[in-house]
């Protein structure tokens, strides 16, 4: 049983992604219930795997019983177990919290919607635990395909965003595959661990270097590393609320994890500096991205677009950690993968909750909501503080370790930019908090050319579009309990992850990066 855990993590969502659409046609309510149950099973399996890894060390799972090099191998080490746990548990909370949104947005086909969600999760968990380069490509494309479709259903504007996401994402996948080809022809294996051993023994050849460049370009596109980020803001802004709360915390994070996995498990350190300085390139792009993402976020008026740019900045932070490449930096990057999943899920869910009640998403229209939706906005505030990185919240500690890694390597630019990013983050998030808590509700929508999209939606209070925003805000109530409970849990997680970060760092992440 215990040996079969990986099959539950990936297999359960994959299997039910086919079953749910079929059942959902006849029993519409079943789609949500089965999906949540499936994700819960995957989360429990991840937790058990983590427990087992901590007890017995890394374990391997041979797909269909075929051992490598013939068969495909899944490897569950500390890092994979913890990331898979984060992905599944965050998704579980998000799924519960966005049920009401999904009812609206999935229209009359909830089965298809939840089928895609499960497919996405199957792909993401697959990426996390696979130990095979080509298998990773397949899971990457499975997850991406589901994500394209989920973004696409967001309506008129989402269509073009979704299509562009598809084109750019597929280029990314194709580049990755091309890079894998080079590695394969150089080493003759697709198994990550074997490839690493062979690469350690062999000299760094041109072919391997070219392959590395292709792999990093491909994954860079998937994780929206500046300047390959162009697809992300549109996709996140226009995607349905039930979707962007799901893909923003986990999707790009898993791509970043795949990038990290290349460093941890495939390329020996020496390969990525020197002739083709992939690590340095990541470092520089990351530093630029941190600043660019934050500055761009400060200029946004749509809160979801602001959070999208914020994601670009935070992913760049992870890239910096990968680029530094020391165990501490990699652990800091991984800690940020975990932390940021919780923080961004909190922020996006709070946004979705606000839109659910009052249908507003422009930052300047949120004034006066603080006291009226105390739990939602309280969670948003906690998430914001964590993003800024005030101790003892989670965001502080990824920065804390990253600064240490920067000092350790004598990379003072990294130290300065990482510290500065706190201030830049404060600029755009406190701008929102200021509106929410410290300003009275606006008597009327401020003159902004795009405000017609900011009229309250559907079953929320429904004033005519020209009507003032103030009455909407003043009628606002706290969101229903099934929306705020997961939200508050996630907000609490951002604090708990911070306070007990040593447990994660010492027992999971640091051993995880040392072993590999």
């Amino acid at each position: 049983m215990e040996q079969q855990l990986p099959a539950f993590i990936v297999g359960a969502p994959l299997l039910f992604s086919v079953i749910v659409p079929i059942l959902g046609r006849k029993w519409r309510q079943s789609a949500f219930v089965i999906s949540v149950a499936t994700v819960a099973v995957a989360a429990v399996a991840s937790a058990l795997s983590l427990e087992r890894v901590l007890r017995d060390g890394t374990f391997r799972y041979y797909l269909g019983g075929w051992e490598p090099p013939v068969g495909i191998e899944w490897v569950i080490d500390e890092v994979a177990a913890v990331v898979s746990l984060v992905v599944t548990s965050v998704s579980l909370l998000v799924l519960v919290s966005t049920r009401r949104w999904a009812e609206r947005e999935a229209g009359d086909r909830p089965g298809v919607f939840y089928g895609l969600v499960l497919l996405l999760l199957a792909g993401l968990t697959g990426i996390v635990i696979t130990g095979d380069l080509f298998n990773l490509f397949v899971f990457l494309e499975i997850a991406s395909l589901a994500a394209y479709a989920l973004v696409f259903i967001g309506g008129r504007r989402a269509m073009l965003a979704g299509f562009r996401y598809l084109i750019i994402g597929s280029i990314g996948g194709a580049f990755y595959l091309l890079g894998v080809g080079f590695i394969y022809f150089a080493t003759g294996t697709l198994n990550m661990i074997e490839a690493r051993q062979l690469l350690v023994e062999a000299e760094s050849t041109r072919a391997v270097q070219v392959g590395a460049v292709f792999i990093f370009t491909g994954l860079g596109l998937k994780m929206a590393l500046v300047p390959m980020h162009l697809w992300l803001p549109d996709a996140y802004e226009h995607a349905p609320s039930s979707v962007n709360s799901l893909i923003a915390p986990v999707m790009t994070k898993v791509a970043a994890y795949a990038m990290l996995r290349m460093f941890l498990s495939v390329f020996p350190p020496g390969y990525l500096s020197g002739a083709v300085p992939v690590a340095d390139a990541l470092l520089i792009l990351g530093l630029v991205g941190i600043v660019f993402g934050s500055v761009a976020a400060a200029g946004q008026t749509d809160i979801r677009r602001m959070l999208a740019y914020s994601s670009i900045s935070q992913l760049a932070f992870i890239a910096v950690g990968i680029g530094l490449g020391t165990p501490l930096a990699l652990a800091a990057a991984l800690l940020h993968v975990v932390n940021h999943a919780a923080m961004k899920a909190t922020l996006f869910l709070a946004t979705a909750s606000v839109r659910f009640r009052v249908g507003l998403q422009r930052t300047h229209n949120l004034a006066g909501l603080g006291p009226r939706m105390p739990l939602t906005m309280g969670a948003f505030a906690v998430g914001s503080v964590a993003m800024v990185g005030i101790p003892p919240t989670a965001g502080f500690f990824s920065k804390w370790y990253m600064v240490q890694a920067g000092v350790d390597q004598g990379q003072w630019v990294v130290v300065v930019v990482v510290l500065l990013s706190s201030l830049l983050t404060a600029v755009y998030l406190f701008k929102v908090l200021e509106q929410v808590y410290l300003r009275p509700a606006k008597p009327e929508p401020s003159a902004h050319h795009d405000d017609e999209h900011d009229s309250p939606v559907d079953s929320a209070p429904q004033p005519a579009e020209q009507e003032a925003i103030r009455p909407v805000v003043e009628r606002a109530r706290e969101a229903p309990w099934d929306i705020w409970v997961p939200l508050v849990l996630l907000a609490a997680a951002t604090v708990i992850l911070g306070v007990f970060n040593v447990v994660i760092m010492e027992h999971v992440l640091l051993p995880g990066v040392e072993v590999s």
Binding site: F134, F137, V138, E141, L145, Y148, A149, F152, R156, R157, M159, L160, G162, F163, L166, I167, S170, I171, G173, A174, L177, L178, G181, Y184, F185, L190
Partner: protein
């Protein structure tokens, strides 16, 4: 120069196809042409894998003499793994193209056009 290209012909062919595909995706306004560009791009990679596993004078990886107990020489056979991988990659490619085309159907129903600039104009209205 020509010799060099001829010696590494598969690489150059792959590179050329990649560039054509990228051009189609980036420079063309028609969404259909962008999908075609994507297909060319993916095909280039498939060709790359297949040509990389090419072995002069080798044959199919089927052990004719397995019952005779004779040990087979790996050099006599073409590496089957890339071919198998590419079968999967083709399936992935088809899936992507299929999803892309279904997007195009929806977009055409919504906007009445498949031209990117017209769509943007339409959205501004």
């Amino acid at each position: 120069m020509i010799d060099e290209i001829a010696a590494r012909f598969p690489y150059w062919a792959t590179a050329a196809l990649l560039v054509v595909g990228l051009y189609g995706m980036i420079a063309k306004r028609s969404l259909v042409k962008q999908v075609i560009g994507l297909s060319i791009f993916q095909s280039a990679i498939i060709l790359f894998f297949i040509s990389g596993s090419l072995l002069e004078g080798a044959t199919l990886p089927i052990l004719y003499s397995v019952h005779g107990g004779e040990h087979a020489n790996p050099d006599d056979f073409v590496n089957p793994l890339p071919h198998v991988l590419m079968l999967t990659a083709i399936v992935v490619g088809v899936a992507i193209t299929g999803v892309a085309l279904s997007f195009l159907v929806s977009i055409y129903r919504e906007f009445g056009t498949l031209d990117e600039r017209d769509m943007l104009d339409e959205m501004r209205k």
